[in-house]
């Protein structure tokens, strides 16, 4: 049997176990495709051919010994924010160009243990700050559905390469929507796990109280298997929760019957594109037709304040986290300044891009003497209100349903010079990071010929409910099977 790269990861896994083809054959075909597609997409910063082929040979040995793991021998791409031992990790920043980590981050280590084959490091907005992957020192990634449009961000490379059938699986990170929004704009599934579900050890830090690593896939089963491989307590990250990791496919047989769905009107206000709204309304109708109980009488008033809360808390944490880039220990370094302090300021002034500098400045301001109470402390208090509001909504509902993004993929350059308009992309995803809950984006239609995503938010540590609903919706609709116009 020939290698068909349009297969999902679980379909590949079945073929590999049946001996239809080897992981080496699959990996060689995958590498050929992602290299060829990249002249159009620019989804990758680094290809890891040599590592991938070595891992593929190891996986083939495991397969011959009967290893039944769902990821053994399956190609995976990872966002270039995840440290990889011996392979440059750039965070898409000039600041880290050429930086070679001496250890793998925990999720990459777990992927390798699970037998996955890592084929490359994907493009992103610099330090994961952005919603379009245009803020990359390595140039923008393009959307496989329309090459003049952005893939979303910040995990745009990881989303684009899965959407274009380059790889069946990838990992991204999500601090305010950086997995869910690109998943929506590229027509695939993307899941942000509960805060504390997945280890952040070795992930280049942006906003430590908000961010999580999570999977991109084309269906719920693949997302469930990838999440299962990376989730769980890690001694190297004390914020990981001591909560057992379930089989994330455990709710697949349950269907949609009786699923209690809250639809908060606050997420359907001005700024929501009419075509996106129509797709979400049709999805709600379809869910109801298959037994879901829809409740539209749900108010989440504090959630409407989530955007300013986020743009105080995240830049504040970023300004502290990015203080480590001083040009001394690693990375870009200016050496001809007038003094130690001047060299440090020059290093940071020239090494960071415009959006990163904007956020460092914003965070430094919010934390500075005289403004701390008015901004940072106030934002943390409103954060409490948003969290309480979600808890109240989940007392009588299983999931909250919203659009993932207010619009479909926009054109390159359209919003890049207007920071606040770019920030509005994450209006519906940001409240979830503030509260810490898990959420998934799944394909639910097309507007102007471009994919639309619906967001399902769940209770803490109930990713299984989101994946079960995504699986059930995928059984009765075909949106996740649509393929972008053919690339290479």
């Amino acid at each position: 049997m020939t290698v068909d790269l349009d297969r999902t990861a679980h379909e590949h896994a079945a073929c590999l176990r049946a001996g239809d083809y080897t992981s080496r054959a699959l990996t060689e075909a995958t590498l050929a495709r992602i290299h060829a597609q990249d002249s159009d997409l620019n989804a990758y910063i680094t290809f890891t051919d040599e590592l991938a082929l070595a891992e593929a040979d190891e996986a083939d040995a495991r397969l011959r010994s009967g290893d039944p793991g769902p990821l053994v021998g399956v190609p995976v791409a990872v966002k270039d924010l995840l440290s990889t031992q011996g392979i440059q990790t750039t965070a898409a920043s000039k600041m880290l160009e050429g930086f070679v980590p001496i250890v793998d981050c925990t999720v990459v280590r777990r992927l390798k243990q699970a037998g996955a084959v890592i084929v490359g490091k994907t493009n992103l907005d610099e330090f994961a700050m952005g919603s379009s992957t245009e803020h990359s020192a390595f140039g923008p990634t393009r959307n496989p559905w329309a090459l003049d449009r952005v893939p979303g961000g910040s995990s745009g490379g990881s989303a684009a390469t899965v959407a274009s059938r380059g790889v069946p699986l990838s990992l991204g990170t999500d601090t305010g929507g950086s997995i869910r929004q690109p998943a929506a704009l590229c027509g695939i599934v993307g899941l942000k796990p509960t805060y504390g579900r997945v280890s952040r050890f070795g992930v280049v830090a942006f906003a430590s109280s908000l961010e999580q690593v999570g999977p991109f896939a084309r269906d719920a089963e693949d997302a469930a298997n990838l999440l299962g491989a990376i989730a769980g307590r890690d001694d190297m990250d004390s914020t990981t929760a001591p909560v057992p990791v379930p089989d994330y496919t455990e709710r697949f047989a349950r269907g949609l019957e009786g699923l209690r769905v809250a639809v908060p009107e606050a997420f359907f206000g001005d700024g929501l594109d009419a075509g996106v709204r129509a797709c979400i309304e049709q999805a709600i109708t379809d869910l109801a037709a298959h037994g879901a109980i829809i409740d539209r009488d749900v108010a989440l008033p504090a959630a409407s304040a989530a955007l300013p809360v986020y743009y105080i808390i995240a830049p504040s944490e970023a300004s502290a986290n990015l203080a480590r880039y001083d040009g001394v220990k690693y990375g870009f370094s200016v050496r001809d300044g007038r003094s130690v302090e001047d060299e440090m300021a020059q290093t940071r002034g020239r090494g960071f891009g415009a959006e990163v500098k904007r956020r460092i400045m914003l965070g430094t301001y919010a934390l500075s003497a005289g403004y701390y109470d008015a901004y940072y402390l106030k934002a943390q208090k409103v954060r409490t209100l948003i969290k309480r509001e979600f808890e109240a909504a989940f007392a009588s509902h299983d999931v909250i349903l919203t659009p993932t993004s207010p619009t479909v993929a926009f054109r390159l350059g359209e919003k890049v010079d207007d920071p606040y308009s770019m920030y509005l992309n994450d209006l519906y995803t940001i409240p979830v990071n503030i509260a810490g809950n898990p959420a998934i984006s799944l394909p639910c239609g097309f507007a102007q010929g471009l994919p639309v995503g619906m967001q399902l938010i769940g209770r803490p540590f109930e990713e299984s409910t989101l994946l079960g609903a995504t699986h059930a919706y995928g059984e009765v609709t075909e949106w996740h099977r649509r393929t972008p116009p053919s690339l290479a």
Binding site: V100, I102, V103, T194, Y195, G196, S209, D235, S238, T239, A241, A305, P308, V309, Y311, S319, A323, D326, G327, V328, K329, Y330, G331, S333, R335, G337, S339, V340, E341, A345, Q346, R348, G349, R350, F352, A354, K357, R358, I360, M361, L362, T364, Y365, S368, Y375, L377, K378, Q380, K381, V382, R383, T384, L385, K387, P419, Y420, Y423, A435, G436, P460
Partner: protein, 95 residues
């Protein structure tokens, strides 16, 4: 609220980021616009509301206090831009 050029330069100094004059001008406008959008928070009553620093309560996570090997010196120095005799070299702090 409008940030003055001096305020932008002061924040940049705190953040140790060298900015060009053009960047100072641009950031002044951009940050002022963003700060204006933050004013909605003033309308929210947060009296008696405690702050949330992290979404799920995990306190005082401990591990056994056991020795273990550290990374090799050569590995730690691998990415240092300037090194000498097993040390990271920096500019003199005192002239």
């Amino acid at each position: 609220m409008a940030l003055t050029t001096d305020e932008v330069r002061y924040i940049a100094k705190l953040a140790r980021v060298a900015l060009t004059d053009a960047e100072v001008d641009r950031l002044g406008g951009e940050l002022s616009t963003i700060l204006d959008h933050f004013q909605v928070l003033n309308d929210i009553d947060t009296q008696d509301v405690p702050p949330t620093a992290q979404s799920f309560d995990l306190h005082n996570v401990e591990r056994p206090d056991e020795t273990r090997p550290s990374y090799a010196l050569e590995d730690i120095l691998l990415n240092a831009p300037r090194r000498e005799d097993g040390y990271i070299r920096v500019r003199g702090v005192l002239d």
